[in-house]
């Protein structure tokens, strides 16, 4: 269980990091919190020749509010998202999702950008990004580009990031005041990866019906997916337990390739999807009521 040999670089600026990545090519790997990469090295599932530690780059760990958008640097530690007052006030969904990510000792090192770039299909942040329609800000040798979450996650551990590119920040649009949110998952222990999970957003019209719904599933397919049929079943409807039950039943339509492993079979995961969706919808409706 010892990692194979590699070289270690700790650039002090983003440009320097991009230069090292360009020079070293596909054999170089960025190192953020290391909470997924170091286990992969120990298990020898990855064999990069150079690790480029992003921990020394100033400016990658900033959190700010820019007209209606929470901008979080890729190197913001998960533990900070859990506790930062700006997040608690403007995007409590992100703080709540963070509490489901591993354990405190993992979150003390793990970063937002690392989780998104790693793209574990069972991870919480990718589903949060997908539900909120976040934009992922990427820097590469030819400059900066911005990719919407729905185009970023391509498959298990596969994203739109090309070799030599770095995720630098995430732009989360803040939901309107008439929006409630929920997140629910089933995992074997607190902190374990989800066997099925759902992130929901419900926007309510003045007449009390639903004008917009977003449901993102994680832990069930090869990447986070939006449950579009379930979302459509909610729009125009009153926010009642019956509507939620009917919509939740349609959530499995979004899953074409269900995940299956020793922790949960495909059949089991599919069966609990409607349960987590309903719980997350009820949580969203409760938060709406409280406003």
């Amino acid at each position: 269980m010892k990692p194979p040999a590699f070289a270690y670089e700790r650039p002090q600026s983003l440009n320097e990091a991009l230069e090292v990545l360009a020079r070293e090519g596909a054999e170089a790997r960025p190192l953020a919190g290391g909470q997924s990469l170091i286990p992969m090295l120990a298990l020898r599932l990855a064999r990069p020749t150079v690790l480029v530690d992003l921990g020394g780059i100033a400016g990658l760990d900033e959190l700010s509010l820019e007209d209606g958008t929470l901008v979080a640097g890729a190197m913001v530690r998960q533990r900070r998202l859990e506790r930062d007052p700006l997040v608690a006030q403007h995007l409590p969904l992100l703080a709540a999702a963070t509490r489901l990510v591993g354990h405190p000792a993992i979150r003390n090192r793990g970063t937002l950008g690392g989780s998104l770039a790693h793209a574990d299909p069972s991870a919480e942040y990718p589903a949060v990004a997908l539900a909120l329609e976040a934009e992922l800000v990427i820097r590469g040798p030819s400059g900066e580009r911005s990719v919407p979450a729905r185009e970023f996650f391509l498959g298990p551990f596969t994203t739109a990031l090309a070799d030599g590119e770095l995720l630098t920040a995430v732009r989360f649009p803040l939901p309107s005041a008439a929006t409630g949110w929920g997140i629910a998952e089933v995992a074997r222990r607190h902190g374990d990866f989800a066997l099925a999970g759902a992130v929901t957003l419900l926007e309510r019209a003045a007449d009390g019906t639903c004008v917009r719904a977003a449901i993102a599933l994680f832990g069930v397919a090869t990447r986070p997916v939006r449950a579009t049929a379930a979302e459509q079943a909610l729009v125009g409807q009153p926010l009642t337990v019956e509507t939620f039950r009917e919509a939740a039943a349609r959530a499995t339509e979004a899953i074409d390739e269900p995940l299956s492993d020793v922790h949960g079979s495909a059949a089991y995961r599919k069966q609990i999807v409607p349960v987590v969706v309903r719980r997350a919808l009820e949580a969203a409706a409760q938060r709406l009521q409280a406003t």
Binding site: F6, I38, D53, H103, I106, N108, H190
Partner: protein, 159 residues
Amino acid sequence: MERVPITVTVNGRRISAVVEPRMTLADFLREELGLTGTKLGCEHGVCGSCTVLWDGAAVRSCLVLAAQADGANITTIEGLATDGTLHPVQQAFWEAHALQCGFCTPGMVLTAVALLAENPNPSEEEIREALSGNLCRCTGYQNIVRAVQLAARHERAGT
């Protein structure tokens, strides 16, 4: 591979060393510094037995490279007792019979120290949540939870 110079403070002592990039902080503590109180169970982040404090926060020393620890302030289980007096959390683990083989104990104790520093009066639920990443194969956890409750009471009472 080119070795990396680092300076870390471990249990209050400043140490300069040159490490191989692939050396984890856990191996650095155990093999270079002889601090074998930090245990290695799984070496890939799932058992928590290698937990140490990094600037006061719990981290898994098998999931950090020694090279990354340059400039950090690390506390291991060896750094908790002062002049032969056990730290209140260690004392509580002893009193509440919170260990059997003791393999998980350093990680449990340090995780509890970090929890109580932040939350001096945790509920049982919060204690269980904080310890959920640390595996124990012997005790069944009940007495570990009790020990943390006892330590919290002692620390609040200032004893």
